[in-house]
Symmetry: D2
Subunit: 87 residues, 4 copies
Amino acid sequence: MAEINNEKLIQRLSRIEGQVGGIKRMLENDRYCVDIIHQINAAQAGLEKVKKLILDRHVRGCVTRGIQNGDNSIVEELLEVIERSFK
Amino acid sequence: MAEINNEKLIQRLSRIEGQVGGIKRMLENDRYCVDIIHQINAAQAGLEKVKKLILDRHVRGCVTRGIQNGDNSIVEELLEVIERSFK
Amino acid sequence: MAEINNEKLIQRLSRIEGQVGGIKRMLENDRYCVDIIHQINAAQAGLEKVKKLILDRHVRGCVTRGIQNGDNSIVEELLEVIERSFK
Amino acid sequence: MAEINNEKLIQRLSRIEGQVGGIKRMLENDRYCVDIIHQINAAQAGLEKVKKLILDRHVRGCVTRGIQNGDNSIVEELLEVIERSFK
């Protein structure tokens, strides 16, 4: 996975923002629950992807440099992020 | 869990929309990856909660009425929603 | 998804039991962490599948009959199971 | 989180193996679906914990040493493990 730039990430987040706005309108228009749930799934998948891309960048960048410089706290922080971010 | 009204759900979604906007600004301002990931976790937890509240309402309402009226397709649909929405 | 019988489910669980035993042997033999993690993923996917099959059977059977008989506590219980079992 | 030794991990896995065997007996004895699902949740939580402990050890050990020795493939492998192992 090639490193991703901020612009691409912000584009993805704008799309997710639009999806969340769309879900609000679906509720206002009393759309069918199941259709709303599918839209929430799509927004969640979008956020999960952005999170993985940022974690990816973090590990290749900050974590790798930190370890090379003997900074062990970056390893502790990474483990805590994984613990809190995934399931 | 008492049934939730649309207004409350829309309020929750507005908050999530704001969080996603905040994440965009964090990226624009080159904020620390780990802080951004924590904000994404918060937005994801918000969506998960809204999804569970809507599923809850769906099961108590549409699914219960459907089964009472002998509509078995609502059961198939519910199982598919659970399959696609959780893990 | 057709309803599944107990025999098939027990076969799946025997396979998972074997996988967990295999993971223990991998640890005893100091196998590479990443290979062990992949085996744990496989066992987890197996349990997830069994859980979904049992939930499926529960919804088609007990829940449907309960609702037809006007037993609303079965709906509350189902919602609690979903809440606790997924994510 | 202090590094965990193999013995402790194997003990945890033996307990999970026992839980999976117990789930098989619950099915054989036609126990209530919801009770079986709760037992599956317990076994899954056990595996998730073991996985996180092994990942923890891997990151503190192999990954840290690999990066210090300029081995970038260990970073790629870690990112792939996270991608496949969580959600």
